[in-house]
């Protein structure tokens, strides 16, 4: 997940031995953080963990993990040269870089936060994340416009702008979410601190970032830039909805109701949005497929068609998106059931949200079934991804807005 693909391609840091060593350094870092949580001096407390990480003890744990990981990897790659050639490490190391960059950006942004005396729970409009949200909105909207213009001017500056602003939007959005997490600790003596995945407004922004990340992976690997016009159009529509949500007072950081006070929230919600985001990308690919087919029927010599990926490629990309989203969505639903078993006394209550999640699961499950076991593809499945996404949107938004049930905290209040 690097900011510029050209840099990733050219730099030796992203290939061979350096990538391998850096990859294991990140793994060591994560193991260090885990070790601190499990065996750290003061025990693990969710709300103070961030401070433990930045304390002397935390630096020692993280540093040891990082150095050990890097050293072991270096020794291994010297001892046996072919171990150093790991495609997995080459692919994953840039995700580590991206995460580090986001955290660094978030740390930088905390410096712009207003002083404690200027903050008030009642009026949160001076939080720095508000400005970042606006920046993210502008970047994504601008990127969407560029992607659409790019259809008519490929190989141009516009095309590079489209991809560049999409990446910038992801980084601003991601670091903004982290910053919002930090900000939630600034009110009421830290008693309401929680991950920014607790209401519709916050998860919307998470959804944009995940959708764009999934799409950009496909763009990076399969040069499917024209598909971006469709995916980013969906994101842009979401941005308008999010702006509307903000305008009716849904943007505030609020305390968690008792039902949401669980570590499951941090796992269940983001994983669900990996599903939703991937389904959005699949829908974008499906729309691109249908558009291309329609254009081909009208005039096969059209210039725009040269920019589009081939029908086969779009079909594949839609499938790949579902293949990413479906297991994530399945796991998210299962973990949701595990949470329900812990909070509500039963893993399945036929609550509207659960039932609609099942329907979404059945829709994409049937998609995979007819595709894998019966070899369907093409137009029918393109329509399937588009209509499947409509069902997903209802599951995500419609249930919260129109139906009542146990998931009512996602509701507009």
């Amino acid at each position: 997940m690097s900011m510029t693909q050209s840099m990733a391609a050219a730099s030796p840091w992203f290939q061979g031995k350096p990538a391998f060593v850096r990859f294991w350094a990140y793994i060591g870092l994560m193991l260090g953080a885990t070790g601190l949580a499990l065996w750290g001096g003061d025990g693990y407390s969710e709300d103070s963990y961030i401070f433990q990480l930045t304390s002397m003890q935390g630096v020692l744990w993280l540093g040891t993990g990082l150095l050990l990981g890097a050293a072991l990897a270096a020794i291994a790659s010297v001892a046996k040269a072919e171990w150093g050639e790991s495609p997995l490490a080459e692919r994953l190391v840039s995700w580590g870089d991206g995460a580090v960059l986001m955290i660094a950006m978030m740390a930088l942004f905390t410096l712009f936060e207003p002083s404690a005396s200027a903050l008030s729970y009642e009026d949160q409009s001076n939080l720095f994340s508000i400005k970042l949200i606006m920046a993210m909105n502008v970047l994504f909207l601008f990127s969407a416009i560029c992607y659409i213009l790019m259809l008519f001017a490929p190989e141009s500056f516009v095309a590079r702008m489209a991809t560049g602003t999409a990446w910038m939007g992801v980084y601003v959005g991601g670091s903004m979410l982290l910053l919002r997490w930090y900000e939630s600790y600034l009110f009421m003596d830290g008693s309401i601190g929680h991950a920014p995945v607790s209401n519709l407004y916050e998860v919307f922004m998470l959804l944009f970032c995940i959708t764009v990340i999934v799409y950009l992976q496909w763009e990076k690997r399969y040069q499917a830039q024209a598909m971006g016009a469709f995916v980013m159009a969906l994101v842009a529509a979401g941005v308008f909805f999010e702006i509307w949500l903000g305008s009716i007072g849904q943007a505030d950081i609020k305390p968690l109701v008792p039902a949401l006070q669980s570590y499951w929230m941090k796992i269940h919600v983001p994983l669900n949005f990996v599903g939703y985001g991937s389904f959005a990308v699949a829908c974008g690919a499906g729309m691109a497929y249908l558009t291309r087919q329609w254009l081909e029927q009208r005039n096969p010599a059209m210039k725009v068609l040269k920019v589009f990926p081939s029908l086969e490629q779009l079909d594949q990309l839609a499938y790949k998106s579902v293949a990413v989203g479906f297991p994530a969505f399945t796991l998210a639903t299962i973990l949701g059931a595990a949470w329900a078993a812990e909070a509500w006394g039963g893993y399945w209550s036929w609550d509207p949200k659960e039932t609609w999640a099942l329907i979404v699961w059945l829709v994409y499950g049937a998609y995979l079934h007819v595709r894998i076991s019966h070899g369907w593809q093409g137009r029918t499945l393109a329509w399937w991804t588009v209509s499947g996404f409509l069902v997903t949107v209802f599951c995500f938004l419609g249930v919260n807005m129109y139906l009542s049930g146990l998931h009512s905290y996602g509701r507009l209040s």
Partner: protein, 568 residues
């Protein structure tokens, strides 16, 4: 012979049935019907009170929906039959396909016909100088060590086949079995599980749970008692509840075996039963109401009653059905558009007042007078004429009824006004002055100005009320009940096992692709011609790339001179 024919007919029939049951159209139809049926249950709220349904749909539709079981849809026989059908279909599907898949995974035909070979999209050929075809084969195997190799010689031509990810068919088997396991787990939960509600008042114990079966409630006695020692609610500074906490003791055969706190998300576990914090409510708090006589001369009386009881006041003829008590009432006191200003209005009691031919009305009375910016604005009261809490409207009474002197002043003033039956500013002022002298003599209390304003407001507001008496909350002794949910779920672990299988199977199914390579090595012009072809069962985009890497590795291994290569 006839018997034989019947036998074979029957077997044809059963094969046909099995074929139908495990066919794709049936599976897709089942999934669609299941999805559509599930939608009904989300649009129509489940397990509500029957009167609400009747009110909402009218008698005809209520009867139709009720007979279809739509008010508890997910437990109706027809929905369970649908799920059962899905299980049968899945089982037949597995029964039919698993042996074939296992066989396919075991056997790998090495030989490939020219025709089949030529249909493969990814292929290249090149020439190699070597001692023998075996030699080349060894080099290839060495170069692509991670692949599974097989070889066969036919008519002087050496056929090699290499496989990777050939276990991917386990993915299908695992996924489909996992769904079956989950459904079985669900069936065990429904059949042998237990789930019900229990309300335990603070300080008392309970051993009966209630649950809905269809449209009526059933009860079951648990093998142990649960005592609620205390229940408390903690709040965030803005008044939102932050925690519901019950302290419970389990009493098994008269012995206290376990005492523990539970909160939402942290249930208690005892003898296979989980005890969850589900809700709470008033457990029959004792409340004292002060009855102010609005029309007569009687001094205020105190009545002592309890939530969920009805107090009949024989003197005035009114009755008060106490419905709820709340220790806190946090409200946003800011005007619309202003920054929020949360304020606790203090304890309140809800009751329904009936009598003397008046329409029953729901009321909420507060212990404290309303205070805005440190200024006492007198007692308030909320009234809902529909009986629905959402229709509560706040009414200012003007007077601070908690202050006996203030009531005395009001009473003295209003009785003078009535006696004088005079209008005009002066007469009122005289009456007020005389009332004040009666109550306070010469010594005016502090904040007298404010009190005077309140009394005058009271004179405007109180006589408007239609009731002869006005009850105001005077004192309370609060008691909660904690709403527990008890659940025993022997099928849960089966469901988790099935879930783990499902995710594992999906990963195999979606991320492992079966890739096959063929090499055909045959002599040509004193050299060897190597032909290589490869296919993948999915992800052709990636495989195109992988094939080219593999090709260059194969070419390098056989020390092929690129200039002699013959491209396809």
């Amino acid at each position: 012979m006839a018997n034989m024919r019947r036998m074979s007919q029957r077997s044809v029939f059963s094969r046909e049935l099995m074929h139908r049951l495990s066919s794709m159209p049936l599976a897709i139809t089942l999934l669609t019907v299941l999805a559509l049926a599930s939608v009904i249950g989300t649009v129509l709220q489940q397990n509500q009170a029957q009167q609400d349904y009747l009110q909402q749909f009218g008698p005809l539709w209520y009867w139709v929906f009720r007979s279809l079981g739509l008010f508890d849809m997910y437990h109706t026989w027809w929905f369970l039959v649908l799920l059962g059908f899905l299980m049968v279909s899945l089982s037949f599907c597995l029964w039919r396909n698993v042996p074939r898949m296992l066989k396919e995974m075991r056997s790998h035909k090495v030989y490939i016909s020219e025709r089949a070979f030529s249909h493969i999209k990814q292929q290249r050929r090149w020439l190699v100088s070597a001692d023998s075809a075996e030699h080349i084969a060894d080099k290839l195997k060495q170069a692509l060590k991670e692949w599974q190799w097989r070889q066969e010689e036919r008519d002087g031509v050496l056929y090699l086949r290499a496989d990777r990810g050939n276990r991917h068919k386990w993915g299908y088997i695992i996924v489909h079995s996992a769904i079956l396991v989950i459904l079985v787990g669900g069936w065990i939960s429904v059949q042998f599980g237990l789930r019900g509600d229990m309300a335990v008042v603070e300080g008392s114990s309970e051993n009966e749970i209630s649950y809905l079966k269809g449209t009526h409630t059933e009860y079951k006695t648990m093998p142990f008692d649960v005592r609620c020692n205390s229940f408390e609610i903690n709040f965030y500074p803005n008044g939102m509840p932050s925690e519901f906490r019950s302290n419970l003791t389990i009493i098994d055969h008269g012995k206290e075996v376990l005492t523990s706190d539970i909160i939402v998300n942290k249930p208690l576990y005892y003898k296979g039963v989980r005890i969850y914090q589900a809700s709470f409510g008033d457990g029959g708090s004792h409340v004292k109401l002060k009855l102010f006589d609005l029309q007569g001369d009687r001094p205020p009386r105190i009545i002592d009653t309890q939530v969920y009881q009805t107090y009949k006041d024989d003197i005035s003829g009114f009755s008060f059905e106490i419905t709820d008590f709340r220790p806190h009432n946090v409200e946003n006191m800011a005007a619309a558009g202003q920054p929020k200003d949360f304020q606790d209005l203090g304890p309140s009691v809800d009751f329904v007042i009936r009598g003397n031919g008046l329409k029953p009305v729901k009321m909420r009375s507060f212990l404290q007078p309303l205070e805005i910016d440190g200024e006492n604005r007198g007692s308030i009261m909320m009234i809902s004429t529909t009986g629905d809490k959402r229709d509560f409207q706040s009414i200012g009474l003007g007077l601070d009824l908690t202050n006996p002197k203030e009531w005395a002043l009001y009473h003295a003033f209003i009785s003078r006004l009535q006696r004088l039956k005079l209008e005009g500013k002066n007469a009122r002022r005289m009456a007020f002055k005389s009332a004040m002298e009666e109550v306070f003599g010469d010594q005016r209390p502090k904040n007298f100005q404010q009190m005077a304003v309140r009394v005058i407001n009271g004179v405007q507001a109180l006589p408007q009320l239609p009731w002869a008496v006005l009850p105001v909350l005077d004192d309370y002794d609060q008691k909660y009940y904690t709403g527990l949910q008890l659940a025993k779920d022997p099928g849960m672990n089966v469901v988790w096992a099935g879930s783990a299988l499902l995710v594992w199977g999906l990963c195999i199914m979606l991320y492992i692709s079966h890739r096959k390579l063929w090499f055909i090595i045959r002599p040509q012009d004193g050299q060897w011609r190597v032909e290589m072809a490869g296919i993948s069962n999915r992800n052709p985009l990636n495989f195109n790339r992988e094939f080219h890497t593999l090709l260059s590795r194969a070419e390098q291994a056989t020390a092929h001179n690129p200039s002699k290569g013959v491209d396809e």
